[in-house]
């Protein structure tokens, strides 16, 4: 067995450590983000207030058939607090931008 000199050993360890760190980082970066709930699972929950497929009895707004950009803007404004609502500010912050885009497409269909 070859006896390593201290400096060589140190270099080897450093290389090893760097390699481990690099692998760890790679693994972390490569790991996919947790999947988001399907758009059906996201959107049907809204019906408790906004009616089945977004068809609501007023004054709760109907959210079906809206142009996607209007839906997205409303939700993003609720999420950021730019638009005030005693209810929707609390709800909108739970959804990712991807969720909001998907729900906009979903409700446009009905």
């Amino acid at each position: 067995m070859v006896q390593l000199k201290p400096d060589q050993s140190m270099i080897k360890m450093t290389i090893l450590l760097l390699a481990v760190l690099s692998v760890a980082t790679t693994v972390q970066a490569a790991e996919p983000a947790a999947p988001r709930p399907s758009v059906e699972r996201l959107a049907h929950a809204c019906a408790g207030c906004h009616g089945t497929h977004g068809h609501a009895i007023a004054p709760t707004p109907s959210i079906h058939g809206k142009p996607e950009e209007d839906f997205v803007k409303a939700m993003q404004d609720f999420k950021s607090g730019q638009r005030e609502s005693s209810i929707m500010n609390r709800i909108a912050r739970a959804y990712t931008n991807g969720d909001i885009d998907a729900m906009a497409q979903f409700f446009k269909k009905y």
């Binding site: 019906a47 408790g48 207030c49 089945t52 709760t60 209810i87 709800i91």
Partner: protein
């Protein structure tokens, strides 16, 4: 196998009066439509039936409910306050049959055989299932408070299930003299509708202010804090000064016993004498769930919140008040939201797919007066690390928000959730 025959099915369904024979098949076999049976036609069960048919119209969906008339629990405090008649709480599920083809069976289920996957009705007929959904609601724990049992509840209402109990409390309030004291006892969690006792106190105060202004309401609470507390306390101060008193168990201790003949609530350190007494006892999962051994030591049913399938018995799903869906509260809205996740998961499972991650909402309004309401809500997702639901959004009505506007939304919510749950 002892599958349902056309004759036994007709016999059991005949008691309903109306029956849709569409989708009535014999026992499930290869190539046959999958059979999903739902027991309990409240907010959870009715929503499950509707959304199963929306997600897959080819499914054979049977909803079994024992009650002839179903009264909605949400809204029952408004009936107690005299804003509406009891009939206003009636919900019909006819649209689920006429528009979606759900088989409605009015019958009492006496047994579930999870091995054979058969539900037995009181008349002996049997209904087989591929997947079973239980939405049995709650039972009162009549062994929990000394002096308060089933018999006593016929005189001293809990009014925590709408119907006769609602009328009993309403009539006692009407008969009470001006200057009387109404006592509500509130249980420790978990129980159906966490803000319910405080909404009830508010709406009884609303009635008393109109009709018996020298009277008051006292809540004797097993808890030391409660849902929407700051908002309720402010509301009582603004609307009913001096009329509503909340007594924490921190101050008077837990309830030791009830004296039903003298209408006395005895706590560890105090006695409260009532003119009208409303005891809201601790609760547990409905009878059928407990009998089938779907409940654990907590008396509630553990489920996987991605499918609401029991973690104790396969192919049986439990939704609504009876299941453990921490941190979701036990509410009609939660039941409606859970039913949709459950329905989507059942369609996935029947097609050999693993259900994906869930997304749920709860939103609960409480009225304090006709033009004054507050709310609490939550948005929930599944945490793989915690193996349960976690809240990713939600909160309470902001202190400076317009309570009149919330009241308008609360009325609108009632119409919308009724349509989303009971109408096809």
């Amino acid at each position: 196998m002892s599958g349902i025959t056309r004759r036994t099915f007709l016999k059991s369904a005949g008691t309903v009066g109306a029956l849709s024979l569409l989708g009535c098949t014999v026992a499930p076999s290869k190539g046959a439509k999958a059979k999903v049976v739902i027991i309990g036609g409240g907010y959870g069960g009715s929503t499950a039936a509707k959304y199963l048919k929306l997600f897959d119209p080819s499914l054979d969906v049977t909803l079994i409910e024992k009650r002839k008339t179903y009264y909605s629990c949400p809204g029952s405090n408004e009936v107690i306050s005299g804003w509406h008649d009891l009939g206003w709480l009636v919900r019909s599920r006819e649209g689920l049959t006429t528009r979606l083809g759900v088989n409605l069976v009015r019958a009492k289920v006496v047994e579930i055989d999870p091995q054979k996957r058969i539900v037995t009705l009181k008349d002996g007929s049997e209904i087989p299932y591929d997947r079973l959904v239980l939405s049995p609601g709650v039972d009162m724990r009549f062994d929990a408070i000394e002096g308060y049992d089933l018999k006593t509840s016929k005189l001293i209402p809990h009014a925590w299930k709408a119907g006769k109990q609602t009328t009993l409390l309403l009539n006692q309030l009407k008969a009470m003299r001006d200057g009387g004291v109404v006592i509500i006892t509130a249980p420790a969690g978990p129980y159906r509708c966490p803000p319910g006792p405080y909404e009830r106190a508010s709406l009884i105060a609303n009635y008393l202010k109109r009709s018996k202004p020298r009277s008051k309401v006292i809540i004797v609470d097993a808890k030391t804090q409660f849902s929407k507390q700051a908002l309720f306390l402010k509301g009582w101060q603004d609307l009913y000064p001096g009329m509503v008193e909340w007594v924490s168990s921190e101050k008077v201790g837990q309830i030791d016993h009830i004296n039903p003949s003298k209408l006395i609530v005895a706590t560890e350190f105090n006695n409260f004498r009532a003119s009208v007494l409303n005891v809201i006892p601790p609760q547990k999962a409905g009878w059928l769930a407990r009998k089938t051994e779907l409940a654990d030591h907590s008396r509630w049913c553990p489920v996987d919140p991605r499918s609401f399938e029991s973690t104790l018995i396969p192919n049986i799903h439990i939704i609504g008040d009876a299941c453990i869906a921490t941190p979701m509260p036990k509410s009609a809205f939660s039941a409606n939201s859970q039913a949709k996740i459950c329905a989507a998961a059942i369609v996935d499972l029947l097609n050999g797919r693993q259900p994906g991650p869930p997304s749920l909402i709860n939103h609960c309004y409480s009225f304090l007066a006709p033009d004054y309401a507050i709310s609490i809500n939550g948005v929930y997702e599944y945490s793989v690390a915690e193996r349960q639901l976690v809240a990713t959004g939600g909160g309470e009505t902001p202190m400076d928000a317009d309570r009149g506007r919330e009241a308008e939304f609360a009325r609108s919510w009632r119409e919308n959730i009724t349509a989303d749950t009971f109408e096809g």
